[in-house]
């Protein structure tokens, strides 16, 4: 899962990034409105955290611009002035949720996780696919009720696939959502990861569609 963080206070930004990375997210950050606007329009993100008080272009304008160019990723806004009007305007501009400063990163993480889950159409925080259960709040994965230990990359890939159950996901899409920008796109690390997940969670879980991508298969048998 790839998150865009647009926040001008570097320390706050760093805390958010660290917390997100520790939870298995891929993070890209921008420190002003202009950069945030550009990154949001050019990359494909699973969610964005957007501060409203940004230099150059303010957060509400960035959000308007994203929405008008068809960027429909879930957006969580951070407010420091926190008048109710600002929050209402934020949601009317197309934000999906807001968190008022000063916040605790745990709360922020929970909100981001819930946003992504709702955006991909899942009501419960525990995603289930056949024998595999993925708890989005704790990042705990079980297969046939046995806890399975996964590396951060494996977790990232499983999380993306679990959120998009049934869809055929291309290799490049997977790469984009579980790796940083500067990743070498020619390497065969995706195949390696898919194989490792098959080994840990069962060979039938991920189906390969040649030339198209991968699909999570959740049939009970």
């Amino acid at each position: 899962m790839k998150i865009l963080v647009v926040e001008d206070d570097l320390q706050v930004s760093r805390q958010i990034e660290t917390a997100l990375r520790n939870s298995g997210y891929v993070v890209e950050s921008a420190c002003d409105g202009e950069e945030g606007l550009y990154q949001g329009e050019s990359g494909s993100f699973d969610a964005a955290i957007l501060d409203l008080g940004l230099p150059k272009i303010d957060g509400i304008k960035v959000l308007h611009q994203w929405r008008s160019t068809g960027q429909n990723m879930p957006v969580l806004i951070l407010t420091a002035r926190d008048t109710w009007r600002e929050k209402v305007n934020g949601l009317r501009a197309g934000a999906d949720d807001y968190v008022a400063k000063p916040f605790q990163v745990e709360e922020l993480l929970a909100r981001v996780e819930a946003l992504i889950r709702r955006a991909t159409g899942h009501a419960s925080p525990v995603l289930v696919c056949g024998p595999v259960m993925f708890d989005t709040t704790s990042n705990r994965v079980t297969c046939n009720e046995t806890v399975v230990d996964l590396t951060a990359l494996e977790l990232g890939m499983l999380s993306y696939l679990m959120h998009h159950q049934g869809e055929v996901i291309s290799k490049s899409e997977l790469t984009e959502h579980i790796y940083d920008q500067d990743f070498d796109r020619d390497s065969n690390v995706i195949e390696v990861l898919v194989n490792r997940l098959r080994n840990k969670l069962g060979a039938g879980l991920i189906k390969t569609h040649r030339g198209l991508g991968y699909q999570l298969v959740c049939d009970e048998n």
């Binding site: 002035r81 109710w84 009007r85 949601l91 000063p102």
Partner: protein
């Protein structure tokens, strides 16, 4: 037109002076007309008097006789009201045929007084006007009184006709003048009515300022009002910007400290976390109070309560969508708060947030206007607040216990802002056992 209005004062005083002026004009014109017609009448009588005097001669016997009599037929018709008479002291010498066998009584003027006008009564007690003169006819030693009389009935009739026409004319003129005065007042006071409308627009929020195209007399007031509104707005705006900047400047470091504190293990970390929580709460409360406009607004704009409740509900539905809370809005039509929109947002925001936080499944918002006060009720079906704790929750500077419903600082802020508007927040038990927050505020007209 109300009794205590400028229009009424101008209108009544105008009616009084129009009435008085027309009455004086009417009386003067009637008197002048009467005077003129009497002079004309007297001249006519005098002509005949001269004629009689000229016709009088003394014969050989010393008796006076007239060589001719006036030809006017009215002097020959019996009791026509037109007569002539010649006396020598009390002795009747000659009369017109119209007098038949009667005589006219009059006061004898002095010989050198010339022709004199008198009012006497005729044979039928009719009012007559006479011209009489003492004349010494050549060839006689005696003085003779020559008089010519005419009835005043004609004069009175003419004056009456004239007065009737004059009154009608003056009444029409009066009506015209009064409608002109009415128009003048309407036109003259139009700027004041426009000012009233403009103020109403400002109250309803469609205008920010009074337009400055008023006449010179009103313009200073308009400018003064605009300056006052601008001044209080600028003060409020500046205060809010500063509070906003302060919030922005404080909250980023607060976020950092708060998260770092949570990273520190053991008692010291716990202490730090606790203190930063407390700091965050105090900052929140005092910044909220600093943001409040209170009654700073001179005109007191009117704010649609329903629109704000809808906006905040929209926000709450988003925020609490995982908790499946149903927010029901009832009877909020036509509720208008007299005060600042942002203050109302702050109050409703905190109340609804608190209600949604503690509700099991439902929050109900309803309100009414009573005696120019708005009563807004927000009810939830949560655990409620025990009676003995309700007071504490609203107290200023109360230590906050996040485990007690409603003791989040929100309710205290609401109570503070309501107090700025001489309003109140009362906490009661709702019908479902949860909290019922009753917010009372001034209503706009």
């Amino acid at each position: 037109m109300r009794a205590r209005s400028l229009s009424f004062r101008l209108f009544t005083t105008s009616i009084v002076w129009v009435f008085m002026a027309l009455t004086v004009v009417g009386v003067l014109l009637t008197l002048m007309f009467q005077h003129h017609i009497e002079e004309h009448f007297d001249a006519f009588l005098y002509d005949h008097l001269e004629e009689n005097i000229a016709a009088a001669i003394i014969d050989n016997t010393g008796e006076l006789y007239l060589t001719w009599v006036p030809a006017d037929r009215r002097f020959s018709e019996p009791y026509s009201g037109w007569y002539w008479q010649i006396n020598q002291n009390n002795k009747l010498i000659a009369t017109s045929e119209s007098l038949v066998d009667g005589r006219l009584e009059f006061t004898q003027p002095d010989v050198d007084a010339g022709a004199q006008v008198q009012k006497v009564f005729g044979p039928h007690k009719e009012k007559l006007r006479i011209v009489v003169q003492q004349v010494i006819v050549p060839g006689s030693d005696f003085t003779y009184s020559f008089l010519v009389a005419g009835t005043v009935a004609g004069i009175n009739r003419d004056v009456r006709n004239f007065t009737t026409k004059l009154v009608i004319t003056l009444m029409l003129l009066g009506a015209g003048l009064i409608s002109a005065v009415f128009m003048q007042i309407r036109i003259g006071l139009k700027p004041l009515r426009q000012m009233k409308t403009a103020l109403k627009d400002i109250r309803s929020g469609t205008q920010k300022r009074l337009p400055e195209d008023f006449p010179a007399e009103v313009l200073p007031i308009v400018r003064e009002l605009n300056t006052m509104m601008g001044h209080s707005e600028a003060l409020l705006e500046r205060a809010r910007t500063q509070v906003g900047d302060l919030a922005h400047a404080l909250k980023n470091p607060m976020t950092v400290i708060r998260n770092e504190a949570h990273e520190i293990e053991g008692e010291r970390g716990k202490l730090l976390a606790e203190k930063t929580e407390a700091m965050a709460s105090y900052i929140e409360r005092y910044l909220s109070r600093a943001r409040a406009a209170g009654s700073a607004n001179v005109i007191g704009a009117s704010v649609d309560v329903q629109a704000i409740v809808k906006d905040i509900s929209f926000l709450m539905v988003h925020t609490y969508q995982d908790d499946d809370i149903n927010i029901r809005l009832r009877q909020l039509d036509g509720l208008y708060f007299k005060g600042d929109a942002q203050d109302l947002e702050e109050m409703i925001g905190n109340l609804l947030d608190n209600a949604c936080k503690w509700a099991n499944s439902e929050v109900i918002v309803y309100g009414e206007t009573r005696n120019s006060r708005i009563v807004l009720c927000i009810e939830d079906d949560g655990p409620g607040i025990p009676r003995h704790q309700r007071e504490n929750v609203l107290k200023r500077g109360q230590r906050l216990d996040e485990t007690v419903p409603g003791s989040g600082l929100g309710l205290g802020i609401v109570s503070d802002i309501a107090a700025l508007y001489h309003g109140s927040l009362i906490l009661q038990q709702s019908s479902t056992g949860g909290l019922l927050a009753r917010l009372e505020l001034p209503a706009a007209e």
